[in-house]
Symmetry: C2
Subunit: 245 residues, 2 copies
DNA sequence: GTGCGCACGTTACAGCTTGTTACTTAGCCG
DNA sequence: CGGCTAAGTAACAAGCTGTAACGTGCGCAC
């Protein structure tokens, strides 16, 4: 889903063509429609990312259509109308429109609003993969994934490097499960460079584990959390709790 | 689902207790069972991550039980048996066992196999979040997410730093969508440090964008792909195709 | 138990990456 | 055209990260 598909609903041919062409020029796919039936057909037939809906469609009211669409769809809707009084705008928002633009409008402005709405709605769905905003607790420690802060039971704050953070996250996500070096490396996006000699994947993970231990283990010589599974890899051998926020 | 729950099925009390205690000592929850009914009860009543199944259960054959379990369950099963001849092992695997251990066995070995099986099966479900193994194409360029390699239309290979790679990925995942600096920063796991003066978030992203441009744009002065949206952020203004492998 | 071998722990170091700062350049408004 | 703000760019220093080399301890065979 790369190029946004915008349904342009207006019964005035000229206006429809103007909008369609303009949107085309700016890298979107514009689908013209004049009646509610055509709208329905497009919605059933394929993906629609945004609807530009004229308020006055012959004898039908765009407001009604908008209201109906909103009952079973959550495609964003921008209302377009010659009626620009405040109470008329309010009506638009009342039936669930995401934005309300008065005719005549500046095409650039329309584009900006279209982008804004698309941006808003895409973000909330599959855009930039949602960040982990959880907090983890293990054995008195807390790790706040949102602010990347680890805090010891004593309250002392520990700052972890990027890699250390990543490692900790992988471990927290897989407590009690032995992870091989290869798995850890994969999760850390290490391009699996085979070591020069038969070591397959150097000792980078070992060193990284050592560094993390130095920071979170009371006695790195005798690790409590980040234990090694000889011949296998490493385990986070402690129960982990996750909270939201 | 942290601590593995292992169902130990054996009609010999001593053997059952031995195994149960041993498994307990090693951080698992062992659930004893002697008959097929008890097995069924456990499977219905709660989570079971692995079944250790003795082949000779009174007059019932563990093989039959295994076959029946396999019809509607995919809980991993390790067969345990005094019968160690090859054809007997084959029978075990034939009815769907994941492993087959001969009695008398070394407890440590049992543990190792248990872990191995758990590891195998857990991995295939929710373990370490699957890596992105796609290849992206845009305007003649290819980017292989698996090997972190970008290749120019000319065939020249470009090496990207970690951050640059991450930025490129974010952009590839959101083509044609303007991303604010804040969004990019969030996706890159930047701990949103507010800049010293009112810049809110320094110019780190700007610089990073510049560096990526220097590598992938023909003429960084006039970017084709990674365009800036003045007052907003940056867009990857080109169509992107994704292939698997 | 004793010795050997291998896997892991640890340290040091060099190279690269990365954020900052400061300055330059470009777009936008009147 | 002039002023303003945003973005591009270069240089730098700090810090991170992987490699290599060496130390240590566990497991296994005898």
């Amino acid at each position: 889903m790369t190029i946004p598909r915008i349904l342009v609903v207006d019964d005035d041919i000229e206006m429809r063509q103007m909008m369609t062409q303009f949107l085309h020029k700016h890298g979107t796919i514009a689908l013209p429609a004049a009646t509610e039936e055509e709208v329905a057909a497009h919605l059933e037939g394929g993906r629609v990312d945004l609807i530009l809906l004229d308020v006055m469609l012959g004898d039908e009211s765009g407001l009604d259509i908008c209201g109906r669409l909103r009952q079973d769809q959550d495609v964003p809707i921008i209302m377009v109308s010659a009626l620009s009084a405040d109470h008329q705008r309010m009506e638009g928002y009342a039936v669930g429109a995401d934005d309300y633009i008065a005719k005549p409008f500046n095409p650039e402005l329309l584009l900006a609003r279209v982008k804004a709405v698309l941006h808003r709605t895409r973000r909330s769905s599959s855009l930039v993969h949602r960040r982990n905003t959880k907090t983890f607790t293990f054995a008195g420690w807390t790790y706040d994934a949102k602010h990347n802060e680890a805090r010891a039971p004593s309250g002392v704050q520990v700052s972890l490097s990027r890699r250390e953070t990543a490692l900790l996250r992988v471990l927290l996500a897989n407590p009690h499960i032995p992870l091989t070096r290869e798995e850890i490396a994969a999760a850390l996006d290490v391009t699996g460079e085979a070591g020069p000699q038969g070591d397959g994947l150097g000792r980078a993970i070992d060193v990284l584990v050592g560094r993390l231990r130095a920071k979170i283990e009371v006695d790195p010589k005798h690790p409590l959390f980040l234990r090694t599974e000889r011949g296998v890899g490493y385990v986070f051998a402690v129960d982990v709790m996750e909270h939201d926020r």
